[in-house]
């Protein structure tokens, strides 16, 4: 699933209804955005079970706080930010700044051969980043948040978010290409 389709007045109405406690509207948001949130949580946590917990927690926050969202048009980056935040909290509660990534590698461990980046290498390289940086990468490269949205999601300016993203990418570049 990917949640890139609801927009305009429809999303505003849906968010407003969901914020007021409308189950159906909330279910629609879940159906639309859950997959993106799960991907961001998975990359940030590096663990499927933790990612599930993070997304569960994020939806609970959404259920309770959606009414306070001032700009319903921005519900997607807001949900992703909540997810990233929950993922960070959950990883932190597992002790240590970096969670050990123990995801079973399914399918071809080499990943997509056309990229030249093997999945195992990517996993190891991601493990050296903080959950925040992993979430940042996911929000940019997986779900295509803009710089402004990234900044809002991580609570910084767009330029700061770009800088952090560049640093994270450079680190991965070094590990994956040069390392």
């Amino acid at each position: 699933m990917n949640g890139q389709v609801m927009g305009g007045q429809r999303v505003v109405t849906t968010v407003e209804l969901a914020g007021a406690g409308d189950e159906v509207a909330f279910a629609r948001l879940v159906a639309t955005y859950h997959a993106d949130m799960a991907r961001v949580a998975f990359v940030a946590c590096g663990d499927r079970e933790l990612a599930e917990d993070a997304v569960q927690a994020a939806w609970l926050v959404a259920w309770r706080k959606l009414h306070s969202l001032r700009d319903p048009d921005r519900v997607r980056p807001w949900l992703l930010a909540v997810t990233a935040n929950e993922a960070r909290q959950i990883v932190r509660r597992r002790r240590g700044p970096v969670v050990e990534i123990d995801v079973e590698v399914r399918g071809d461990p080499r990943g997509d051969p056309s990229t030249g980046i093997e999945r195992l290498d990517l996993r190891r390289a991601l493990a050296h980043l903080s959950p925040d940086d992993r979430a940042l990468l996911a929000m940019h490269y997986l779900v295509d948040l803009s710089s402004d949205e990234l900044g809002a999601a991580v609570g910084t300016s767009a330029s700061t978010a770009r800088t952090r993203l560049c640093r994270a990418v450079d680190r991965l570049r070094k590990e994956l290409r040069d390392g």
Binding site: M1, V24, A27, R28, H34, H67, T115
Partner: protein, 600 residues
């Protein structure tokens, strides 16, 4: 942002492949239902409370007498450890009715009886004197709860009765408990406390509310009757998302005296249960303890702990036995599952999506009664789940009672593990506990529960869409039969079909199914078998629409169905026009408008 270089493009591709393992599956409507039930939105300021309760003199005198006797005999066990059985200390849970001579509680009630509306959410509390469950059912007008209806279920006749009290609470969300001492059923929500007198058929709104901060993340999570004091006990726990959670804290415990409408805090000492994802309690009369099932989250992941609370001394103790991982009804392993007290076996029974287990307080021992076989949480295809079937304990017939939808009522014998149908569904074709791998069923009549696929295609029901309601925010004029529990909610990984929760093919003059094995990742399908239409012709028409892939003929349950793949993005829409129901995974609006326009 600058154009991506080669490495970034590769990184994006590699991340996408890596994230294929992300837990993306979810059942949106159930998740929303869960939150709406567990965390109803608060809208009003909480009222004042009076901190002093009036003790019940009779029980105090009884307790004093018993305590003095016990002390004299050197029998008193002090502290928080669960005592060996002290039957004299613990009065009976309360007066209990018996079925009149000639009753046949194992025989299904009349099929043609009036039943609660489809929004029925389950048995809620058992009036021991009347021998009836009390249920509050929301009345929905579109999405809005416009009122509630009060229903009772007689466990001796297996009959529903629609009550007609003078007034009713504004909505059913909240906790219900029967107060034996006062002979009323109490409803507590975040903004209302009501008492229902079944004999007088009257609801009385009480003036006070649980003394918890309405702006906090604290909610009343459990509500039980304490036969010693004759008061009900409420547990309010902080249920916080990780971002909000500031460390474990014990639940707040209060007793409520409905006669004087007063709340009194219960003193707690020692290390307390700290279920940071909620604590649920049940009163265990065999040990005079509250047994708490606390959902916790730690470095090692989510889990549960068993705690005992001694209401007399205000002390907590953690059970020594390992607590089984019985996931909650909703599949979360981060919220407590349902609990009842089995008065025959004198054990606390916990059931949820992860199976069923019983805890013997006096022996500090958990026993797995039924292994859960739905290990994945809510995001997974639905599987067998006891939580979906059982609601509450019937102390008259000593069994669990539950429902699958507003239609059928079932009983589960904890001793034999056997199901009995108490009210048959009006509509044939509904699934039964046996269909879901939940154990043997005593059939009310042969062939009551035909297999779903065997009904494809069905031309026997003759039912047309007549009800209007809103699903997915779609205007009711464009919908046929809808509402919670009557719409297909998701793919079933166990069999090649969509799941119809609580519905039967008799509800629908369309059957929807899809094989899942041939579906590519991120591709979703709609399939249909439409009564009165030629599915092949419909498929041809629909396949010509933008956003719809070519029609594929698939065999489902031995029947051929036409399956269309959506090539669009995600989104779930249900639309009905005439006798055609569309279940579409796509953005929806333009596509479905096109579909509707293209219908013959």
């Amino acid at each position: 942002m600058a154009e991506r270089d080669r490495f970034e493009l590769d990184l994006g591709t590699a991340l996408s492949a890596y994230a294929e393992d992300a837990p993306t599956q979810v059942r949106p409507t159930e998740l929303a239902r869960h939150f709406a039930t567990a965390y109803p939105h608060r809208r009003t300021v909480i009222g004042r409370w009076r901190p002093v309760a009036t003790p019940r003199l009779a029980w105090i005198l009884l307790l004093l007498a018993v305590l003095l006797t016990a002390m004299a005999g050197g029998l008193l066990v002090v502290g928080s450890r669960p005592p060996q059985k002290l039957p004299l200390v613990v009065p009976p849970i309360g007066q209990l009715s018996t079925c009149p001579a000639g009753s046949t509680p194992d025989k299904p009630g009349p099929v043609d009886q009036a039943r609660p509306p489809e929004s029925f959410g389950g048995m809620r509390a058992f009036d021991r004197r009347a021998g009836r469950f009390v249920a509050l059912v929301d009345i929905l007008t579109g999405n809005e709860v416009t009122g509630v209806e009060t229903w009772t279920f007689d466990v001796c006749t297996n009959g529903w009765t629609r009550m007609h009290p003078n007034r009713e609470p504004s909505r059913s969300a909240g906790e219900l408990v029967y107060d034996v001492d006062s002979d009323v059923t109490i409803l507590v929500t975040s903004r209302e406390v009501w008492a229902y007198d079944l004999r007088a058929d009257t609801w009385t709104r009480k003036g006070s509310l649980p003394p918890i901060d309405p702006t906090s993340s604290i909610h009343v999570t459990s509500w039980a009757y304490d036969p010693v004091t004759g008061l009900v006990v409420a547990a309010a726990a902080e249920i916080a998302a990780a971002a909000e959670f500031e460390g474990s804290r014990p639940p707040e415990l209060w007793s409520y005296d409905v006669a004087t409408d007063t709340w009194t805090p219960i003193r707690q000492g020692g290390q307390a249960a700290t279920g940071d994802r909620g604590v649920r309690f049940v009163y265990d009369a065999s040990a005079d303890r509250m047994v708490g099932f606390a959902a916790t989250q730690s470095e090692d992941g989510s889990g549960y702990e068993t705690w005992l609370f001694d209401l007399r001394t205000g002390t907590w103790s953690r059970a020594g036995a390992d607590t089984p991982n019985i996931k909650s009804l909703w599949g979360f392993n981060a919220y407590p599952p349902a609990m009842v007290y089995d008065e025959v076996a004198e054990r606390t029974v916990v059931f949820g999506e992860g199976g069923m287990a019983a805890y013997d307080t006096t022996e500090d021992r958990w026993e797995i009664l039924i292994e859960g076989n739905a290990p994945e949480p809510i995001w997974s295809p639905p599987g067998p789940s006891y939580g979906w079937w059982m609601d509450a304990y019937d102390p008259v017939n000593k069994r669990l009672v539950g429902h699958r939808d507003a239609d059928s009522i079932w009983a589960f014998d904890l001793a034999t593990g056997q199901w009995t149908v108490l009210i048959e569904a009006v509509r044939p074709g509904g699934t039964t506990p046996a269909d879901n791998g939940l154990g043997p069923v005593v059939p009310a009549r042969p062939g009551w529960a035909p297999d779903l696929e065997a009904m494809l295609p069905s031309d026997v029901n003759g039912v047309t869409f007549t009800k209007t309601s809103v699903v997915g925010g779609i205007p009711s004029t464009r919908l046929g039969k809808g509402g919670w529990g009557t719409v297909p909610l998701g793919f079933d990984g166990l069999k090649p079909a969509l799941d119809f929760y609580g519905s039967t093919l008799a509800d629908l003059d369309i059957a929807i199914a899809t094989p899942t094995d041939w579906l590519a990742a991120d591709t979703f399908a709609i399939a249909f078998q439409v009564k009165g239409h030629d599915p092949t012709e419909l498929a041809r028409l629909l396949a010509d629409l933008p956003g719809v892939g070519p029609a594929v003929t698939a065999t489902v349950g031995g029947k051929q169905v036409q399956v269309l793949r959506s090539t669009g993005g995600m989104g779930v829409d249900l639309y009905v026009k005439d006798d055609v129901l569309f279940y579409v995974f796509t953005d929806g609006t333009p596509l479905i408008d096109g579909i509707i326009a293209a219908l013959p």
